[in-house]
């Protein structure tokens, strides 16, 4: 029934290159596409459940202190109001990704402005919303620190120190020593966090908007003090996650408490403002870059230091230096990151934690270094690609940085011979170009999936893996179809239910390689069983279009199943290989911008991204992931910034009108090059993740283009018009 693969060695068999169905990698449209475009895909809050009550969270109007009393009677007489809940089990903070437990419970102690303190439940949404506004509470608030620079940070307990950075800097032919800041980001997934919880006296079933059900079931069970076997989570469609739905959020636990207490189903949907105020922010960062090259243009010094922040008692720290550890060579190295404890909402994963802010800063600094040294910035990068991890010495899996730089440069029409800024003007716009490398560590996790071959010749894939827009439904079906010789329409993929075999879920770009490998392992076992039935070695068989054929015979797949369903559960686990290699996706960005000489407004005019991320499982959905990443580059370069009031710590811009994500007109046509490779180290399907790579560095390319266009060298992201204008030389 079950097939288990622990990957200890590189898998160079490239099985999916020898199969013949010919659908793997193809730009097939999504099987769930028609559901999405007709409005019939059902998201968490949209299940029509009889007798469902509506819950609205009440949040704290102060940043730190204690709720001393909640006057239920202030609202219990209002029409439709059923209950006011403030229960020890409820979670005040969204749970960090992969926590698998609920470390914080109880709402009375408040640690950030906007933290949930109660849930008001009523018959209708309008009634609950009104009552939530009228709930009277008493509290004691205390002073709190909101500014990361205002406290003594916790030091890095594992810094990297090699050689003598200071000496290398002073000895160097050319060097830069630069300080940057980046502002906090919000995931701002379009679907607000939402849950419908139903308790039937024995089992708690929750439809929720979540990315990682296997961890989430443990988190919710822990919060509710239930056995995991008494909890079921369903998330068939998720309206975007970007890290904000990695862990169980406050709405889910509140709805669960309410349904168990009230004996009726309860729906809790966060308002957009609550999503901004309650769910993970990406930490703001301060970073210092010290880079030096010798007269050959080889890096001799590489220093990258960061200060990030989080609430007290949170383990997560934005891993700013993650790819800096291995992206470029340089013997003398210092990498360290400190964490300040402040009272802004929880800092956690927002798309590409670490690289999203570390890479643009590194790449902006590399741009300035290239200028100082008089080297084409593409060449500077090409000349400093290490052959192995500079600190650990571990070899790389496949490594496509050089090819991405070269192919991207060619496609973009890059000319690095003269990088003097302020050379091109069109009317009131300065025009310039810039580039950056891309890197994002490869993650992979233990995963299970069940594949069933039916006697009508169709197959079904089942796993609790989620599709948060990434294309999971599409690629898992393609892997199974490719392995079993079936067309896309003959494979049904069912996801997002903890009743299915479990895996790591979506996050850290690991879903495709992890769940995909589990499907692959299950299909290998099915192929093996079919081979045994036929009495041929599996390598002698060709699976195509529902037919299994060999040298001198063939049989219809449906006939082999012969009235029985063939089912295998694939169980994939990354083994020693994860310890033995450095695995990462690589790429390159090229951008052309126009900067308005009077207003400082920056418009991205075109952008090219070239990415190597192992086997491409579907060229259409993979390209879409890259496009999305590049759109996020534009946002983080130019507009996205959470702003906190320095006196009371409240988030000043908690909505989509004030937190500026790119709109359609901010995004030009984007050119994406998928640089094919096979990474035998990454997974048995030779694939790496692509959900995040597309935003890891591109904001640096835009920063470099702004400088090249108008001569404004900025050390702060986002580069809003006021800042660009202030930094622009007067002409």
């Amino acid at each position: 029934m079950s097939a288990h693969l622990i990957q200890d060695e590189p898998d160079t068999r490239n099985v999916l290159d020898r199969t013949t169905q010919g659908i793997i990698g193809k730009p097939l449209s999504r099987p769930d596409g028609l559901l999405k475009v007709t409005g019939t895909a059902t998201y968490a809050s949209e299940y029509d459940i009889e007798g469902c009550l509506e819950g609205v969270l009440v949040t704290a109007p102060f940043a730190k202190g204690e709720v001393t009393s909640i006057d239920d009677s202030s609202v219990t007489g209002m029409p439709g109001v059923v209950a006011v809940l403030n229960d020890k089990r409820m979670t005040p903070r969204a749970i960090q990704g992969t926590a698998g437990e609920a470390p914080h419970t109880g709402l009375c102690k408040v640690d950030y402005w906007g933290q949930p303190i109660a849930l008001v439940v009523a018959e209708t949404f309008e009634q609950a919303r009104d009552a939530a506004k009228h709930l009277e509470i008493e509290f004691n608030s205390e002073d709190a620190i909101f500014d990361p620079a205002a406290c003594t940070p916790e030091p890095d307990d594992d810094p990297t120190r090699q050689g003598d950075l200071g000496k290398a800097m002073s000895d160097a032919e050319h060097s830069v020593d630069l300080k940057f800041t980046t502002e906090s980001h919000a995931s701002a997934a379009m679907e607000p966090h939402a849950a419908i919880a139903q308790w039937d006296g024995d089992t708690l079933t929750v439809h929720a908007s979540l990315q990682m059900l296997n961890y989430n079931i443990s988190e919710l069970a822990d919060a509710m003090k239930l056995d995991e076997s008494k909890v079921r989570l369903v998330a068939r469609y998720v309206g975007g996650g970007f890290g904000s739905k990695l862990g169980v959020s406050q709405d889910i636990v509140a709805a669960s408490v309410a349904t168990m207490q009230l004996g009726r189903p309860v729906r809790v949907v966060m308002s957009r403002q609550q999503v901004f105020q309650n769910v993970m922010r990406r930490s703001e960062t301060s970073q210092r870059l010290r880079l030096a090259v010798d007269h050959h243009g080889k890096l001799t010094a590489f220093g990258h230091e960061a200060l990030v922040s989080n609430l007290p008692e949170e383990d997560f720290a934005e891993p700013v230096l993650q790819s800096s550890h291995f992206l470029y060579a340089g013997k003398n190295r210092l990498l360290q990151s400190e964490t300040a404890r402040i009272h802004r909402m929880t800092a956690g994963s927002v798309r590409a934690p670490g690289e999203a802010v570390g890479m643009p800063v590194l790449e902006a600094a590399m741009g300035e270094l290239a200028e100082k040294a008089g080297i084409d910035p593409v060449q500077l990068r090409l000349d400093n690609i290490p052959t192995k991890h500079p600190a650990t010495g571990k070899p790389f899996g496949s490594h496509k940085l050089a090819e991405c730089l070269q192919r991207g440069a060619e496609a973009f029409g890059w000319d690095g011979s003269d990088r003097t800024p302020r050379q091109r003007r069109e009317g009131e716009w300065w025009i310039g170009t810039g580039m950056a490398s891309a890197a994002r560590v490869h993650n992979v996790g233990e995963a299970k999936a069940r594949v069933t071959l039916h006697d009508d010749g169709t197959a079904k894939v089942e796993t609790d893996m989620t599709d948060i827009g990434t294309g999971t439904y599409t690629i898992l079906g393609q892997i199974a179809g490719e392995m079993l010789g079936l067309s896309q329409s003959d494979v049904l993929t069912e996801l997002g239910d903890t009743r299915f075999p479990r895996g790591p879920g979506s996050g850290g770009s690991w879903g495709a390689a992890s769940a995909g490998s589990a499907v692959f392992v299950a299909c290998e076992a099915l192929r093996e069983e079919i081979a045994q039935k036929i009495g041929q070695p599996v390598d002698a068989l060709t699976f195509k279009d529902g037919l299994v054929s060999w040298d001198d015979g063939s049989v219809i797949l449906a006939d082999i199943a012969n009235g029985e369903n063939f089912t295998k559960e694939g169980h994939f686990e990354p083994g020693d290989i994860a310890e033995d290699y450095t695995a990462s996706g690589f790429g390159a960005f090229f951008a052309e911008v126009a900067v308005n000489r009077w207003t400082g407004e920056t418009r991205v005019r075109r952008m090219t991204g070239a990415f190597g991320f192992g086997r491409v499982l579907n060229a259409k959905t993979a390209r879409s992931q890259c496009l999305g990443g590049m759109v996020w580059c534009i946002g983080s370069a130019l507009t996205e910034s959470l702003m906190f009031d320095p006196t009371d710590g409240h988030l000043v811009n908690p909505d989509l009108a004030e937190y500026h994500v790119p709109v359609n007109r901010d995004v030009p046509d984007l050119d994406v090059l998928l640089v094919e490779e096979r990474d035998a180290v990454a997974s048995p399907i030779q694939a790496k993740g692509i959900g995040e790579l597309g935003m890891c560095g591109g904001a640096g390319a835009i920063a470099n283009a702004i400088y090249n266009a108008c001569g404004a060298r900025l050390y702060v992201f986002p580069m809003t018009p006021d800042k660009v204008l202030a930094a622009m030389p007067v002409d």
Binding site: S29, G469, N664
Partner: protein, 166 residues
């Protein structure tokens, strides 16, 4: 006191606080229209009322006595999707799909606005009939946020359908 949604008549709600969006999603049971912000900031709730696209979260259901509302469910079905719905699938004009019904309702009405000669910020000569350049599409679709960043594919889908239409 009734409003018409996709050809079906619904009595207006008793609670005057009910937004048109909540009425559509809850009372009419048509959850294709999405709530992304409830404040007119994202466009996920876009529906077509008497031929014009609006943010249905920004208006109350009781204000629409006698109005004719078309939601995403009224534009096409699984069996018979509209040309735009098909084009969004072909061009991967979505990822998570949450903004998608709003994008498609918006695009459907937007193409009619072009036909009616309505200018936009991207129109060079506002006295001439607008032509559907990519910049026009981008400008006119900028009220519909897509956090997944499917914009280039959304433009491609609309461009294809508009090209066929003209």
């Amino acid at each position: 006191m009734a409003l018409n949604i996709n050809g079906n008549s619904f009595d207006l709600p008793n609670d005057p606080r009910t937004s048109l969006l909540d009425f559509i999603r809850r009372e009419a049971g048509l959850t294709g229209s999405k709530k992304g912000c409830d404040h007119g900031q994202c466009g996920a709730c876009t529906v077509i009322v008497n031929g014009e696209r609006i943010n249905s979260c920004l208006t109350l259901a009781v204000m629409h006595d006698g109005c004719s509302v078309t939601t995403i469910e009224g534009l096409g079905t699984l069996a018979e999707p509209s040309a735009l719905q098909k084009a969004f699938v072909d061009h991967d004009g979505y990822q998570c799909g949450y903004c998608t019904p709003g994008q498609i309702c918006s695009a459907t009405a937007m193409l009619d606005e072009i036909k009616a000669g309505m200018p936009s910020d991207a129109t060079d000569d506002i006295t001439a009939a607008p032509t559907l350049t990519d910049e026009e599409i981008r400008e006119r679709m900028s009220g519909n946020l897509c956090r997944c960043g499917a914009y280039p594919n959304i433009v491609a889908a609309i461009r294809e359908v508009a090209g066929e239409a003209t």
